[in-house]
């Protein structure tokens, strides 16, 4: 090993004149490409971190369109005991907020023009839109029954729909259609209705007036990159202060996105500040010089610059959670500088920068390589956020390493008067290991048994799984608001839907119709409350044709009797027959339907073409039996039951398994990489340190009541690099154990601080990630001297 790194050092020494220029050029190019030519974009969209279901790229794209269309939507419920006050305040809030640059639409008043448009649509397409119940009766040859029922409807009290056009609709088909939609399960459970030109609901003595909003595309899912959410809250708070008894209930992804990005930004700032200050203080405290402090800070800055530029260059943006996880880089990136400066202050050796580098180059290069192995393993994770964190960390570590080795290593020796390092500290530390080795066997066995018992207890309590609901904790204020909104609107929980695909729009609508028939059966069995599909208002052409044929066969022969029953003459009957005949072959297609002003609410379900296929969603409400619906989807061609929470959780479970395989590969790769330098036994001892630390860290999760999830698995991969570093440093630093111990201690404590800060973060994934790394780092550090000693004794033997 020594000869390899002697050659490396020789190369470094021969080329040292060009290091600064080469480093400066490389950094300038990277920063120009990643931050100047492509300005830094920080993505705060919490939704974008969720993985795709990962079954089919087209289905994933369709799913993203469904969620993308709805994520920008939000609701305000302006509540007051007096309806007029609630309505007035809702109007004032809408008036003040509607022109905000991030708002695409903010609706309060109902579009009364759509009433007539819908009524006309039902009339114009009365033969094509036959309700299922009417179709069934006609198919069964019960035309007479349908005809008489329509007369009863026309003559009956409280008839639904207008009688204005019964001369052209004597079978009252448009009324039947309207009744079918009103009676559909879609409306069950809803509590808001039109009142005085707005949508309102009354609950527990309060009137809630609904304001429906949508953010512009660029702001969707982020809560607005600007000040929309705080501006809206300030506006509503002012309105509430001026109108006693007034409250505003907020509901929608933008509010969650804003809250989470705000808290993430605040936490990043706090974590970075605290971690950086502690790292700097410890550096000064142990190395007793401001030179290491300045150089460490500069190499850290170089690392962060390289990380940001490369991530922005490769991904087009840097996710806010990458920054959050990336702050842990502070701890890792300074390790190289700290090891170097510990040697630079070594009182027993030549203290010039190049000499110090010669002594630690092997350690820090291997340390970098083993850490990079972990991050390279993460690059293969099928989860874009993880890949981004890996890229961020890889470039951050390389940038920091390069700055230390190429720019700062040729530093002059410290002044002779410079205060010495606290060698006594590391002597005491290493002495404790010696005392432990010399302690009675019973004590060592008892300690080992205690550790084993704690580990066993932790594992007995450790749960595994990835429930995405547990990954995000909503603030009490927003949680209460969402609960109230769900209660007022009567729409608790609707996270499931069907995605359908077809070779073309016609096949897609036919598949929807078949699925809807099955869903109606499921509703009858109580497996769900209701469903909604485009085909409810836009039947397939095949169905339109068959409906027309059914009317022609079963009702038109009764036209004469029907017209007479309504008091019409032969002339009016002839007009009716001519009108019916003129509608033969007239078919309604998506283009015509979606041009109607009332079709807006169906557009969210009509995904359209992706690649060579057409897609749509069938919305499910009040799902009671997921398994039954999933089975129903399996039996329907082109249909896939989407349970967002369940599906993403299942995907994360699969990814956890992938991460565990990567973990095994990381250990094998590290072991294989160490073998040429240390031999099999020492290599096994070195990788044994993080392995045992990982076991302890997993058990700690159980003791802390946290679940073992994808983030824990990823953290374990990072423990490999960190733990191996410490063992290598101890193994290679045997000639100057006290000096090495100070460097390793500093490396550990700075890393530990960064990870511990993450462990106290409110974002659940960061918490799990932080705890595994905190315990894993601390345990690796404590085990490393033992592993190094075991490795050496085996080498000696």
């Amino acid at each position: 090993m020594d000869s390899s790194f002697s050659k490396a050092y020789g190369l470094w020494s021969r080329t040292r004149r060009s290091h600064l220029w080469a480093w400066a050029l490389a950094n300038a190019l990277l920063l120009a490409a990643g931050l100047v030519l492509r300005p830094l974009a920080v993505d705060t969209n919490i939704v974008s971190i969720l993985p795709d279901a990962g079954v089919d790229p087209s289905l994933d794209a369709a799913e993203r369109r469904v969620s993308g269309a709805s994520n920008g939507g939000f609701y305000l419920l302006v509540a007051h005991g007096d309806f007029e006050t609630a309505k007035r305040c809702a109007e004032e809030i809408r008036e003040s907020a509607k022109d905000h640059p991030e708002i695409e639409s903010l609706t309060l008043r109902l579009d009364e023009g759509s009433y007539g448009s819908f009524s006309d649509y039902l009339f114009e397409n009365r033969y094509a839109l036959l309700p299922e119940s009417t179709r069934r009766e006609l198919e069964e040859g019960k035309g007479e029954l349908v005809a008489r029922a329509s007369l009863a409807e026309i003559y009956g009290p409280l008839s639904i729909g207008s009688l204005d056009r019964i001369d052209l609709d004597p079978f009252a088909l448009s009324s039947s259609e309207l009744k079918s939609y009103l009676g559909s399960g879609l409306l069950r459970g809803l509590s808001a209705s039109p009142k005085d030109g707005v949508l309102a609901a009354e609950k527990d003595g309060l009137w809630y007036v609904l304001v429906i909003g949508k953010l512009k595309g660029a702001s969707v899912g982020t809560g607005g990159k600007g000040d929309f959410v705080p501006a809206l809250r300030a506006l509503c708070d002012a309105k509430a202060a001026a109108n006693p008894g007034l409250r505003v209930v907020y509901s929608g992804v933008p509010f969650h996105a804003y809250e989470s990005s705000q808290s993430a930004q605040a936490e990043i700032a706090a974590i970075s500040t605290v971690a950086t200050i502690l790292v700097l203080l410890l550096t000064v405290l142990f190395l007793r010089s401001v030179v290491p402090l300045v150089v460490t800070l500069l190499s850290l800055l170089a690392g962060v610059g390289a990380a940001l530029a490369s991530t922005n260059l490769i991904f087009g943006q840097v996710h806010i959670f990458t920054l959050l996880f990336g702050t842990s880089l502070i701890g890792n990136a300074v390790d190289f500088a700290l090891l170097f400066f510990a040697e630079w202050k070594n009182p027993d050796e030549d203290r010039s920068g190049p000499e110090a580098l010669r002594r630690v180059l092997g350690q820090i290069t291997l340390g970098l390589a083993t850490t990079l192995v972990s991050y390279f393993a993460l690059l293969t994770a099928p989860f874009s956020l993880i890949r981004q964190i890996a890229v961020f960390s890889i470039f951050g570590l390389i940038g920091s390493f390069a700055a230390q080795v190429l720019v700062f290593a040729p530093i002059r020796s410290p002044r002779p008067s410079s205060p010495a390092m606290p060698i006594g500290f590391s002597r005491a530390l290493l002495g404790s290991y010696r005392r432990l080795r010399g302690s009675p066997l019973a004590l060592r066995v008892a300690l080992a048994a205690l550790l084993a018992a704690g580990t066993a207890l932790g594992f007995s309590r450790l749960g595994a799984g990835n429930d995405i609901r547990s990954l995000y904790s909503v603030s009490p204020r927003l949680g209460a608001s969402e609960k109230e909104a769900a209660s007022v609107l009567g729409l608790a929980g609707a996270g499931q839907y069907f995605l359908l695909r077809g070779a073309n729009e016609e096949e897609l609508l036919q598949r929807e119709e078949r699925l809807c028939a099955l869903l109606s059966g499921a509703e009858a069995k109580g497996e769900l409350r209701s469903h909604a599909a485009t085909s409810m208002l836009l039947p397939s052409r095949e169905r339109q044709r068959s409906s027309y044929r059914l009317v022609a066969k079963e009702l038109m022969p009764r036209a004469n009797a029907q017209m007479q029953a309504l008091g019409f003459t032969g002339v009016e009957e002839a007009v009716f027959r001519a009108d019916f005949a003129s509608r033969a072959g007239r078919e309604l297609g998506p283009e015509e339907f979606f041009a109607k002003p009332f079709s807006g609410f169906m557009k969210s379900l009509w995904i359209g073409r992706i690649g060579k296929e057409s897609f749509s969603a069938v919305l499910l409400m009040g799902v009671k039996d997921k398994a039954a619906l999933r089975a129903l989807g399996a039996d329907s061609p082109g249909a896939r039951f989407v349970d967002t929470v369940g599906d993403v959780s299942a995907v994360l479970d699969r990814y956890s398994l992938v991460a565990m395989i990567l973990l095994v590969l990381a250990y094998l790769a590290t072991f294989a990489g160490l073998w040429p330098f240390y031999g099999p036994r020492a290599s096994a001892a070195i990788v044994g340190a993080p392995l045992l630390a990982s076991v302890l860290a997993s058990a700690a999760l159980g003791l802390l009541g946290l679940s073992f999830n994808i983030f824990a698995a990823i953290a374990l991969i990072l423990v490999v690099g960190t733990g191996v570093d410490y063992a290598i440093f101890y193994y290679d630093g045997a000639k100057h154990p006290e000096v090495t111990a100070i460097g390793i201690f500093l490396a550990m404590i700075t890393t530990f601080i960064s990870y511990a800060a993450l462990a106290f973060c409110s974002f659940a994934p960061a918490k799990t990630f932080g705890w595994v790394l905190t315990v894993g780092t601390a345990a690796s550090y404590l085990i490393a001297p033992i592993a190094a000693r075991l490795g050496r004794s085996r080498k000696a033997s």
């Binding site: 469904v66 939507g73 009433y115 007539g116 029922a149 007369l151 409280l158 009103l182 409306l187 609410f601």
Partner: protein, 225 residues
């Protein structure tokens, strides 16, 4: 996504509610003379006395004649039947001619039963417009003027033995269906005229045959679904 999906659900369902809630037609005129007599303090004692007599009995039954004037066609559709009103349960209408059917309006449902016995149900409990229509029917038949005044601008003419009550919905959404109502009565309701927003007019002429404190044993089942 669960949140996102719910957004679509709300838009969709509320959209349909809106569409189902009203029709597109101009407001009809208030040509009836009663609309020249806004309910003032002077007429209130007479109205209270009139409604006080209506509310003496919780159950009213009798026959009715319904005449629907379809404005555009210049045609009247006439039907006859029986009605049963229960202050507690709702209104039951049984059409006997020309085409038998029945309809029951309770606080939570609108149920139509065809000649063949097939039922079609519209859940009214979640639709404010339906609730108001049902509430108005209840308030008219059970003589509760305060309930009517909450929802309507009231006009009154006459005395306890013979009176006319004009009602104009305060709510614009309800006015999209019913522009105004005129109720005529004495001891009991004699006629109810609905001026629909479409311009059509539906007139019910009532002949009260029986008043009671409670439903007869056989009548209770009519309101159970």
């Amino acid at each position: 996504m669960s949140k996102g999906t719910r957004r679509i659900a709300v838009s969709l369902a509320l959209g349909l509610l809106v569409l189902g809630g009203a029709s597109a037609a101009p407001d009809t005129s208030r040509s009836d003379p009663v609309f020249s007599h806004p309910l003032g303090a002077d007429a209130r004692p007479a109205m209270n006395a009139s409604f006080g007599r209506l509310s003496e009995k919780a159950v009213v039954a009798g026959s009715f004649v319904q005449t629907t004037r379809v404005q555009r066609l210049g045609r009247n559709l006439v039907s006859k039947g029986e009605f049963l009103f229960s202050a507690k349960d709702g209104v039951y209408w049984k059409l006997t001619s020309p085409y038998p059917s029945s309809i029951v309006m309770t606080a939570t449902k609108l149920v139509q039963v065809s000649e063949s016995g097939e039922k079609s149900v519209i859940e009214a409990k979640d639709n404010l417009v339906f609730q108001r229509v049902a509430g108005t029917m209840q308030a008219v038949f059970s003589g509760r003027p305060e309930a009517l005044e909450r929802e309507f601008e009231a006009y009154f003419q006459g005395d306890a033995s013979s009176w006319r009550l004009g009602l104009v919905p305060k709510d614009k959404s309800v006015r999209g269906i019913v522009a105004s109502l005129v109720v005529e009565g004495g001891d009991s309701i004699r006629a109810l005229r609905l001026n629909e927003a479409s311009g059509d007019v539906v007139t019910y002429s009532f002949e009260t045959a029986r008043k009671a404190d409670d439903l007869a044993e056989g009548e209770r089942g009519l309101f159970v679904f």
